[in-house]
Point group: C2
Amino acid sequence: MEIQINFRIAAEQDLDKIVEMLADDVLGSKRERYEQPLPDSYIKAFQTITSDPNNELVVAYQGDEIIGVQQITFTPYITHQGGWRATIEGVRTASSSRSKGIGTELIKWGINRATERGCHIVQLTTDKERPDALRFYEKLGFKATHEGLKLKL
Amino acid sequence: MEIQINFRIAAEQDLDKIVEMLADDVLGSKRERYEQPLPDSYIKAFQTITSDPNNELVVAYQGDEIIGVQQITFTPYITHQGGWRATIEGVRTASSSRSKGIGTELIKWGINRATERGCHIVQLTTDKERPDALRFYEKLGFKATHEGLKLKL
């Protein structure tokens, strides 16, 4: 059976499900706060993202059900002769919908969107504690040419 | 002798020197085009960056001389409870000014700027072909917790 997955820019009523998905994960559960009412910081971030033409919060859905999310940021850089890049972050599929190829479709959609926006690179970082995620992205053509460094403030 | 380094947002007259610095490097020489007149793509990117409140192209200078550059991008994310992050890219010091601690001051300036902007993480990726750069960032407190993946379009 072919699964029909659709994609669209997230609406505010999707935010509860988005945060639920982000928190429903070994690493996500340590850093997200999925509670009712949803912490204000998520609502503010959602509004900032949706009012910024260089940020897109994208959901995958089937019927009425949100089954995946990713955030794509488009950045104009001076490097690479002044090229635009797309950065993908916060990729998650609903736990009830995993291993059905939804993540693959989500990232492929992101790659197409980056092409439409004239980007020359799609980039992302993945936690070294997620070896399966690394293999997943490598299968999609990404190369782990860089170290991803973080400094917490 | 203490070296006094100053920092400011780049102006269009700095762009020639910025591109010269970016191109003057083993990896940069393969992907940049430093020629006169400067390719239009750099000028367009410069104008897009400077008109975007979430992007800052920063130069280090001494007197009239530009001796370093970095681009800082501020991004509102849904993850981490809707936190802002700063991403540093395109860090370079002038070859005549290397090994004088200018890179360190440049990144420290970036970290302070990220703090002022309310970011909770400063992040960057560094090419695995630059082991010295990795050590440089680790000394500044960055942790290489992530793989940095790129997909060329």
